[in-house]
């Protein structure tokens, strides 16, 4: 047990994290590319058209994984932020900051694909459907987090302050979600929800699963890269940075 803890702290130390992330990121990136190709192949070529929605349902293979990712990533961001705030682990602070843009991108993709799916299904790009609305608010939460981070000059203070915001947000996300769902049912919202997939066949499910994994791999690769760069900037006066930069020069 004690040994394990030591190992974890070793991984969390900036130079070790930097090296390890540098080695791992390309693998995750490569894996993401392969899974995207496979997933798109299954979803767009192997899977049969839906008897009700025709081909338009295939947007689901983008829409659903991005929706999941944006929510997972927000929670993950808050977890890292909490670790950084409570135990003052610099690597965790950097990870939280690095996750935000990717999470926001997924939320945006989810909204966009939702709009594209809405046009053939409802005949309009935007419907105040519960899930789309809560995704929109999630996007606002991401934007607020990034804006606060950017507004505070001192990096340590920026990390701590945005951690508080992320925690306030993560407590609120389920409340927001349920209140929006409730609001929607009371106001007789759209009768077809975007994410209610047509009767799911195995091949569709497989495509969905592969696409979700692809998104995860992509997220990990990009976040690790971004965290590496952020760490370099924050530690630019530290010996380990100078040492590594010297090697490359």
């Amino acid at each position: 047990m004690a040994e394990q803890r030591v190992q974890w702290f070793k991984f969390a130390s900036p130079p070790n994290f930097y090296d390890l992330a540098g080695r791992l990121a390309p693998w995750f990136g490569g894996l993401a590319a392969i899974l995207f190709v496979v997933g798109l192949y299954i979803g767009f070529i192997l899977a049969p058209p839906d008897y009700q929605q025709g081909n338009s349902y295939r947007i689901m293979f983008i829409h659903v994984p991005t929706a999941w990712m944006s929510m997972f990533l927000y929670v993950l961001m808050a977890v890292y932020a909490a670790i950084g705030l409570i135990w003052r682990v610099k690597t965790a602070e950097v990870m939280a900051k690095a996750i935000a843009p990717t999470g926001a991108m997924f939320a945006f993709l989810c909204l966009w694909s939702g709009a594209l799916w809405g046009k053939p299904t409802w005949g309009t790009y935007w419907v105040w459907d519960a899930r789309l609305t809560s995704q929109l608010i999630l996007l606002f939460l991401y934007l607020g987090y990034m804006a606060l981070h950017a507004a505070i000059e001192d990096r340590q203070r920026a990390a701590n302050a945005s951690a508080i915001l992320a925690l306030a947000g993560v407590v609120n996300v389920p409340i927001i979600y349920f209140s929006v769902v409730w609001w929607n049912t009371l106001h007789q919202g759209a009768s077809v929800t975007v994410t209610s997939a047509p009767t799911m066949e195995t091949v569709m499910f497989a495509a969905l699963l592969v696409m979700t994994f692809a998104c995860w791999m992509y997220a990990i690769a990009v976040v690790l890269w971004r965290a590496r760069l952020e760490l370099l900037e924050r530690e630019r006066r530290a010996a380990w940075v100078l040492e590594r930069m010297g090697e490359k020069a």
Binding site: F140, Q156, R157, N160, A161, A168, N172, I176, S179
Partner: protein
């Protein structure tokens, strides 16, 4: 009376006295609320049926914006003149002292909104029970707005453009209060009971009361570090 109670009452009294001697601050917020609500009919037309059905949403959104407007000054005056440092140094728990300040903020800005809301409700064509529901919802909801908003006010302390930033940070967090508050009046309007909405709003208020002061205290310590 022990030291903690003395300190809490002192801080509450101080903020109330300051608000009395600078009355225009609170009045501006109230005026903003009234003006925004009065602009809606000019924007959407005078059709009474339309105005009536929009009234809950209009009143709540205006209340959110009015609260937003008052938040920037919640801590920034104390921050600028150094009083906030002294509050942080006090031997009492910061989260409770912060609670005192927020109670003062609510009494100065939240409560007047509740009290003037019947007038605006009537203007938009709400009837008696609807107005009572509106007041009850605002009474439970405006403290939530002050508490959650204070987190944003603390986090943007001393930042350039803090006022605009608060809105981006805090308005998404206001969604549950907005949905429940406007929903309560809607429910009465469509002939059902607002009890579920109001109970949930009360639960939300209790949750916020438990968590927000802690977050505000932490945010203040971070921003003054």
């Amino acid at each position: 009376m022990n030291g903690l109670a003395t300190a809490l009452i002192t801080l509450l009294r101080r903020d109330l006295i300051l608000a009395l001697r600078r009355r225009q601050d609170a009045l501006v917020v109230l005026g903003f609320f009234v003006v925004v609500v009065s602009l809606f009919p000019l924007g959407v037309g005078p059709d009474p049926q339309l105005l009536r059905s929009m009234a809950p949403g209009v009143l709540w959104v205006s209340a959110l914006l009015a609260t937003m407007l008052s938040l920037e000054r919640l801590f920034s005056d104390d921050f600028r003149d150094g009083s906030l440092e002294q509050i942080l140094l006090a031997p009492q728990p910061l989260s409770l002292l912060v609670g005192s300040k927020i109670l003062a903020h609510w009494l100065i800005t939240g409560l007047p909104l509740v009290l003037i809301s019947p007038l605006l409700g009537m203007q938009l064509g709400l009837d008696g029970t609807e107005i009572l529901t509106l007041m009850a919802a605002l009474l439970l909801g405006t403290p939530i707005l002050s508490l959650v908003g204070a987190i944003g006010a603390a986090l943007t302390l001393g930042l350039r453009g803090g006022g605009v930033l608060i809105s981006l940070l805090i308005l998404p967090l206001y969604v549950p209060a907005l949905v429940l508050g406007a929903g309560a009046v809607d429910a009465v309007m469509y002939g059902s009971s607002a009890q579920a909405h109001l109970s949930l709003m009360a639960a939300l208020l209790i949750l916020t009361l438990l968590l927000a002061p802690w977050a505000i205290a932490a945010a203040l310590r971070i921003m003054l570090d």
